[in-house]
Symmetry: C2
Subunit: 167 residues, 2 copies
């Protein structure tokens, strides 16, 4: 679709769209990032009070294979591919990911303070691990609709629970 | 590149290539799968005797950012994108992934028998988790060269070790 086409669909004069965005590439970047933020709202992350909430969020994505939003998934693939060639997009994506990881690391620290997660686990490393688990499972589920993502999350759950035995 | 182009570069008559592969698409699928198998040889998996070996394999991919083979990574992205539209490729990819997961699950069972991994962890789920961690970290490292993958693997290592306290 062309920039004038986007303007027409949005019911805006072409100038409004081309003034706001420097071109089609920038428009695509903004809409992709907007869709990611929509699919994974920051408020949902901020509301999480436990690691169980976080695992529940990943689990919900996989509970029903139909629930994996194919538009968002395809957008993710296209954006990743585009990010390979576009340093500006890559930079925006890595900052967005870093932001989510920081929210997860805060959650891990709170869980450690409350004694639900072993204090030996580095919180930032654990946040990086959880983000990789979420996207890695999503990636594999796109290739294999029968992927046993709930089994993977159960394994993670057992690991976390059994690593912390309150004295 | 065209099929005759491939034949010319390989020093083969065009007929030899077009007889063996039904078309460009099939040729691309075969070469992509061949590259994955090369990047992650089955023998390496079969040789692994411990979970430490498995984590070491993922760690080695991330130890040196230069070591992440950009050709294989880009091929992975293109293949994933292509797999979205090509059920035959998706099927081949999911069977290949299932094969690696089965090898990892066998390793987990051996580690459980030797008492290095808690028997409470479902081996198949753990294999799915480890495969997702490996590819999820790779995906995120492609977007963010400063990704703390070693920190994530350390967190996983602490989880696994502390979940099993020999009596």
């Amino acid at each position: 679709m062309t920039t004038p086409g986007v303007a027409e669909r949005a019911g805006l004069p072409h100038g409004a769209v081309s003034y706001h965005f420097r071109g089609k590439q920038e428009l695509l970047i903004e809409s992709a990032l907007h869709s990611f933020a929509d699919a994974l709202p920051e408020e949902t992350f901020a509301r999480m009070t436990s690691l169980d909430d976080m695992l529940g969020l990943i689990r919900a994505e996989h509970g029903d294979p139909e629930a994996i939003d194919s538009v968002v998934s395809r957008l993710m693939m296209e954006t990743l591919r585009e990010a390979e060639r576009d340093p500006a997009l890559r930079d925006r994506m890595s900052r967005l990911m870093g932001h989510y990881r920081a929210l997860i690391a805060d959650l891990v620290r709170r869980e450690q303070e409350q004694g639900h997660v072993s204090g030996e686990i580095p919180p930032d490393g654990f946040a990086t691990l959880l983000a990789a688990v979420g996207d890695g499972l999503l990636l594999h589920a796109l290739l294999d609709p029968d992927l046993d993502a709930p089994g993977a999350l159960e394994a993670l759950d057992v690991l976390v629970r059994s690593s912390y035995e309150p004295a």
